[in-house]
């Protein structure tokens, strides 16, 4: 087909409407939070001593880290779905939450006696954490991958991984309300592992789902 002929066909299709990608992202964010909330309250619910826990800095810090991770990944994800968007400039912000957590780990090593390191690291909810963060996050990941498919990611593996981090950060924010292990040592190890598993799923799925 000659290019002029193709142009004639494409321009004849001008009336076809498609909602802007930005609108799709906000709808996706609302849907992802809703499905994560439903999964969390059906499967787990907040811990029994929630009202007491919110007075402790370690408990609150978990939400700061996971919330910051989810938000920064979401911002980057939106850019990665748009050709020519300045994603490379936004990528360093993804390191903010891990850096904050690393600083908290250092402080934790200083303030608790070495004899407690192992107990804080292993905690008591390890299996629960590794099960429920991916479980709560998988539906939000599917929502984000759906919008990536609607978009046009030029780096689909990276975009898929970031979608997994956004979904994992969101899931971890809910899960943190259930989990009784509040030490940064536990969060840095097991939350990270659980979120990384979703990032892997996203990185593997996106190039197939979001081909364009």
């Amino acid at each position: 087909m000659r290019t002029d002929d193709l142009i004639r066909a494409i321009s004849a299709d001008a009336a076809r409407r498609s909602p802007p990608l930005a609108a799709a992202w906000w709808a996706a964010a609302a849907l992802a939070v809703a499905v994560a909330a439903v999964a969390f309250f059906v499967l787990l619910g907040p811990r029994a001593d929630f009202a007491l826990a919110v007075e402790t800095p370690r408990f609150l810090f978990k939400f700061l880290v996971t919330g910051l991770l989810a938000a920064s990944a979401f911002v980057l994800l939106r850019l990665l779905a748009r050709p020519g968007a300045p994603a490379s400039r936004a990528a360093p912000f993804l390191a903010l939450a891990p850096l904050l957590l690393a600083a908290a780990v250092v402080i934790e090593f200083v303030v608790i006696p070495p004899a407690d390191y192992a107990a804080r690291l292993v905690g008591s909810n390890l299996a629960l954490c590794l099960t429920f963060i991916p479980l709560i996050g998988i539906a939000p990941l599917a929502v984000f991958l759906g919008v990536l498919r609607y978009g046009a990611p030029t780096r689909p593996v990276f975009a898929g991984a970031v979608a997994g981090i956004a979904a994992g950060g969101l899931a971890a924010t809910f899960y943190a309300a259930h989990c009784t292990d509040d030490s940064p040592l536990f969060v840095a190890t097991w939350y990270s592992l659980a979120i990384a598993s979703l990032a892997c799923v996203g990185a593997l799925a996106a190039p197939r789902l979001a081909r364009w």
């Binding site: 087909m1 000659r2 290019t3 002029d4 002929d5 193709l6 142009i7 004639r8 066909a9 494409i10 321009s11 004849a12 299709d13 001008a14 009336a15 076809r16 498609s18 909602p19 802007p20 990608l21 930005a22 799709a24 779905a81 748009r82 050709p83 020519g84 609607y150 978009g151 046009a152 030029t154 081909r211 364009w212």
Partner: protein
């Protein structure tokens, strides 16, 4: 080049997204000429036909035009799509191509006209369902309007529009597989 060119293209694309077919055709013609220049400079070895890149890029622009932000520059978006399509074309042929992402595309790409070659008119249409092929070939090869096509094929205009849109999406998918 650069900003004045970009603002004209942005104006045409905004009008196209609002549904203006003539402005859309003007936008696509200008964009095709720029992408042609861009692709010819990037493809020196003849492994990929630059005109394939032009057509794949135009189809991707059409099917993904909602990824353009209405007040953002057009050309960085267009060249990012073209660059992706070049890399993708080489990847499908089992080759790697290094495309410098930081290169300022606008300084390189000059508008160029299509060289008529032995491009096979049927190739892109072959894979379409019969209904879609009838509609797409009436509009492309025979140069008919939506209304004329509807009358000739005994379809409603809405059905013609749906078949056209699906046909274009199917051609884009086919490009991605060959």
């Amino acid at each position: 080049m650069a900003s004045s060119d970009d603002s004209l293209l942005a104006e045409l694309l905004r009008s196209a997204i609002a549904g203006d077919e003539r402005d859309y055709a003007r936008f696509l013609e200008r964009t095709a000429a720029l992408v042609r220049g861009f692709a010819r400079r990037r493809i020196g070895d003849g492994a990929v036909d630059p005109e394939d890149i032009v057509q794949e890029t135009l189809l991707a622009i059409h099917l993904k035009r909602h990824t353009w932000i209405v007040d953002a520059p057009v050309l960085p978006w267009v060249y990012a799509i073209a660059r992706f399509k070049i890399v993708d074309a080489y990847r499908r042929r089992g080759r790697r191509v290094e495309i410098d992402v930081d290169e300022v595309a606008e300084t390189l790409a000059q508008p160029e006209t299509e060289r008529l070659s032995e491009r096979d008119i049927g190739r892109a249409l072959d894979g379409l369902a019969p209904g879609q092929r009838g509609v797409v070939s009436a509009i492309t090869v025979d140069g008919q309007s939506i209304g004329e096509t509807a009358r000739r094929l005994g379809m409603t205009e809405t059905a013609v529009r749906v078949a056209l849109h699906r046909g274009l999406a199917a051609i884009a998918r086919r490009f991605g597989r060959d």
